[in-house]
Each structure stands twice: as structure tokens, then as C-alpha cells.
């Protein structure tokens, strides 16, 4: 029989709060972390707003040695802070760098959608073009290699199981968690730190602005710019951060008497194959529905048991289609759709980190018995008007919340879905 997988620790760095406790408060309040981003104005972006975690450099300086910080770009800083926090939240001490013991039972799947674009833009391109390659020194490769974010965490925590970085655009963080669950279920690891990371850099966001998929109509009202499910949604708001879950076999968690925050009851990953309306940038709705159904089947959860949905819901034209797909996958009428909410309404779209940060939100909601609001959609999109009653505009108190489903859909027509269940002793 495959092992059950539980969550025993959380770590989060997000535009509206850093750290699990402050993040929960921000979620309950519906606090936006979206601000004007001067670099975007300076560089002629159509969109001037973004979500950037505040005080990350100061925080990183309090967590990591000068030597480590020399080779930690924005993504590394966010990911390592969230990773260390999840590790400590699970009841582990940070090992001494001089202690040669390796934890062969703990690993990490820490994904990133774009990677070290800031290092490429600020160092590799200008120095190479100026024929000053030797000036790059030793610190750039580890910041631009895709696996750098997970490798960094391994070095800090002496992780000795599988340590890797996945990448599947905006489903990256959710996929990472699904991959970690599989590894623990198969008995190949006791613990996996899983989630997603994305750095803050206008270079990461420029291409999206060029595609005209970023919100450019609320430059004068940043906190209202991220508007999933709204009639006036005008594109997503790019943002940054990291969310990491400590996944652990139930056996290991019980053996060491760990506090169990939730169970990852099931998960699924698929791709729509760029067919039936799916493309590099749009999801095949059949792929989306199959992914949600497969995750529920994996969790042995019936559609009517789903207590809340944390959607992908980015504030683009894809939102109404996604809501229809949720109802189709759960085989329910619009009035029976469980509460559906978008963490992105408060933090923007953290790209590869989204699945990680939003899964942290799911676990907090299960534990705290609430569904966080989906802000900025008082004017619900006309195509989903029949579902309007399912969208919370302020936090719902739901002490009986048992199951929360999270999905992430990414460019490349890739999907990942996770089913979290409240842990009842």
C-alpha cells in the first residue's frame, strides 16, 4: 500500500506578507500586495504595477552568511527563506554548516518558471557583450542554472535525497508538490520540501508585457489591478515570491510526533496537447477537466466533498472558461459550485511560485477554517454571473471545511491539481 502524505511545515514569501502568520492575516483581511513598480515605468512598460515581496534583502541578510549571499539572486533569496521557514516550521533545526551529516531521507523539488533572468540581464549579457567575461567570476552559473534554487536549499539544509527543480510555467509550484507526493508515496523519501519560486525582476515580466497579457488599465490604482473573475479584469499582475511545503510520510510524521497541518490526499498532472482550443498559451478545457477529475479520483474524494476551490484564476480572459471547467469537472450546477477564490487577487501572479504560495494558502484555510476572499471582483464577469454566489468578497468562516482543491494551469497547456484534506486526529 502506498504511503499517505501529510504537510508538516510551511514557508512563504509573498507580496502581501512574509512568513506564515502574517500571510494568514493578510489572506483573511484581503490585503493586496500590488504596488507601482518604478522600473516598469522607466522601461516603457504598458503595465506599471507588480507584486514584490517587501524587505527580502534585509530578511536574507538575517538568514544567510555573506558568502552565500554573494551568489543569491532574487529567486534564490525568496526560495531559500521560504524553504528554511518550512523546515523550521516542521520542527527541524537548521544544521551547522560545519556539521558533515547529511539527511539522506529529505529532499526538495523546488521549481521556477523563468529562473535567474535578473542575473542573465544584470551580469551575463552586459559583461559578455563588453568582452569582459572574466569579470563574471564564479557566482553566475549557480544563479542561472535552473536547478540553482533547489541546489541552494540543499546546501543550507544538508538535504541528501532527490534535489531538483521542475519547470512547467505557471503550474510549476503545484507540479512540484505533486512530484514530491509521488516520491514519498513510493517510499523513496521520508520528507520533501516542495513548492515554487520566482524572482522579482522587470526583465522577467517584459515579455509578458509585450504579449499584452499584463494589466495596464489600473496603473493609477495598483491595489485594484489584480481582478480575477471581474468584468473589468484586464490582464494579470506579475509578481514574485516563494511558497514551500514540507511534505512528509504520515509514518515519519507520527514517529517523530510532528504537528500535522493537512493531508495531501491526491494530485494529478497532465497536458492538453495543444488541441481542442489548447495552445502554447491557452488550455485545452478537456485537459483541465481531466486533470481535476484525476486528482479527485487519486484522493478518493467525491466532487460533492469539495469544500472550496483555490483556482488558477489570473485575471485574464481565461477566467470564465476556468470557472466553467471547474463546474464541469465537479459535475455541479452553477448554484452548487463550492466557494471559489483566487489568491492572485491579492498577490498577483507569481508565475512559477504560484502553486507553492497558493498551496500554503490552502493549508492555512483548512487549518484556520476559513476561505480567503477573492478581492476586486464585485463586478463579476457576465459569463460567470450564475456562479456569483460562490465567490467570497470577504473571508468566509468555514469551521467545517474538510477539502480544498488547488489547480494551476500553465503556458504549454500544462495542468496540475492538488487535493488537500484537513487532518483529523
Amino acid at each position: 500500500m502506498s504511503r499517505r502524505v501529510v504537510v508538516t511545515g510551511l514557508g512563504v514569501v509573498a507580496p502581501n506578507a512574509n512568513g506564515v502568520r502574517d500571510f494568514e492575516l493578510a489572506l483573511r483581511k484581503g490585503l493586496s500586495g500590488i504596488r507601482i513598480h518604478e522600473k516598469m515605468i522607466e522601461c516603457g512598460f504598458g503595465s506599471h504595477v507588480a507584486g514584490v515581496p517587501q524587505g527580502i534583502d534585509e530578511l536574507a541578510e538575517s538568514y544567510f552568511s555573506e558568502d552565500l549571499l554573494l551568489a543569491m539572486n532574487s529567486g534564490h533569496r525568496c526560495g531559500a527563506i521560504a524553504g528554511v521557514d518550512a523546515w523550521k516550521d516542521a520542527g527541524f533545526e537548521r544544521p551547522d554548516p560545519d556539521d558533515d551529516r547529511v539527511d539522506w531521507d529529505s529532499g526538495a523539488v523546488l521549481g521556477t518558471g523563468i529562473g535567474g533572468m535578473d542575473t542573465i540581464a544584470n551580469a551575463i549579457v552586459p559583461f559578455t557583450d563588453a568582452k569582459r567575461v572574466r569579470r563574471l567570476g564564479s557566482v553566475t552559473v549557480e544563479q542561472v542554472m535552473s536547478s540553482g534554487v533547489s541546489a541552494r536549499l540543499s546546501g543550507i539544509l544538508a538535504l541528501g535525497n532527490q534535489v531538483t527543480t521542475n519547470s512547467s510555467a505557471c503550474s510549476t509550484g503545484s507540479e512540484a508538490i505533486s512530484m514530491g507526493v509521488d516520491r514519498i508515496r513510493h517510499g523513496l523519501a521520508k520528507r520533501m520540501l516542495c513548492g515554487g519560486v520566482e524572482g522579482a525582476s522587470h526583465y522577467i515580466w517584459a515579455g509578458f508585457d509585450g504579449m499584452r497579457v499584463l494589466c495596464r488599465r489600473f496603473n493609477d490604482a495598483p491595489e485594484r489591478a489584480s481582478r480575477p473573475m471581474s468584468a473589468t479584469a484586464a490582464g494579470f499582475v506579475p509578481s514574485a515570491g516563494a511558497g514551500v511545503l514540507m511534505l512528509e510520510s504520515l509514518e515519519s510524521a507520527q514517529e517523530r510526533g510532528a504537528r500535522i497541518l493537512a493531508e495531501v490526499a491526491g494530485s494529478a498532472i497532465n497536458c492538453g496537447g495543444h488541441r481542442v482550443g489548447g495552445s502554447m498559451t491557452a488550455p485545452n478545457p478537456e485537459g483541465v477537466r481531466r486533470c481535476i477529475r484525476a486528482a479527485l479520483a487519486d484522493a478518493r474524494v467525491a466532487p460533492e466533498e469539495v469544500g472550496a476551490i483555490n483556482g488558477h484564476l489570473t485575471a485574464t480572459g481565461a477566467d470564465p472558461k476556468e470557472v466553467h471547467s471547474w463546474a464541469a469537472a465537479l459535475e455541479c450546477s452553477p448554484s452548487d459550485l463550492p466557494p471559489i477564490t483566487s489568491t492572485k487577487s491579492m498577490i498577483g501572479h507569481t508565475l512559477g511560485a504560484a502553486g507553492g504560495i497558493e498551496s500554503v494558502a490552502c493549508v492555512l484555510m483548512l487549518n484556520g477554517g476559513f476561505v480567503h476572499p477573492s478581492i476586486n471582483c464585485e463586478d463579476v464577469h457576465p459569463e460567470i454571473e450564475p456562479y456569483a454566489a460562490s465567490i467570497p468578497h470577504t473571508a468566509l468562516q468555514t469551521p467545517d471545511l474538510q477539502v480544498v482543491v488547488k489547480a494551476g494551469f500553465g503556458f504549454g497547456d500544462v495542468n496540475a491539481c492538488l487535493v488537500f484534506r484537513k487532518w483529523n486526529e
Binding site: 555573506e66 558568502d67 567570476g137 564564479s138
Partner: protein
């Protein structure tokens, strides 16, 4: 610039790369940069780049290979700034 001044600036540049703080406290010309201070060998190129900037000199890769101790670095820099 005398040797003492060069030594002090070299010590300051090395500081963030040092992993053995005990050895750093007793740093002298005889201190071995990798073995005693436990500086990550990959980071030596970054230390050298900082020497170049700090003293406005250029250090060949072949010269870098000869630097093992703090004293070697100080002598090399002294020779370059003439």
C-alpha cells in the same frame, strides 16, 4: 602603499568569503586561504577580481595559481603596483 596597508585591505576583501572565523581572527601572512580560512575554491576568482578593483591592477590566471597564502597575495599585489 606599504605591505601592512596591502595586508589590511586583502584581509578586508577576504572577510565575506571566510568560512572558518576562528582562523580569520588569527590571520597572518602565513595563513592558507583555502586550507585555513576554508574559502570555497570556486570563489578564488571572485577574490582576485576584487583585488584587481581595489588596487587597480590586472592579475593573470597563471599568477592566481601561485596564490596559496595571504602572504602570496600580498606579495603579488605589491609587485603589481610596483
Amino acid at each position: 602603499m606599504d605591505q601592512t596597508e596591502i595586508f589590511e585591505r586583502v584581509v578586508k576583501i577576504l572577510n565575506p568569503y571566510v568560512k572558518n572565523q576562528e582562523a580569520f581572527k588569527g590571520i597572518s601572512l602565513a595563513t592558507h586561504i583555502l586550507d585555513d580560512l576554508k574559502v570555497n575554491s570556486a570563489r578564488l576568482v571572485d577574490v582576485v577580481l576584487e583585488f584587481e578593483d581595489a588596487f587597480d591592477i590586472e592579475i593573470d590566471d597563471d599568477d592566481v595559481d601561485k596564490v596559496e597564502t595571504v602572504g602570496n597575495a600580498v606579495e603579488l599585489i605589491e609587485a603589481k603596483i610596483g
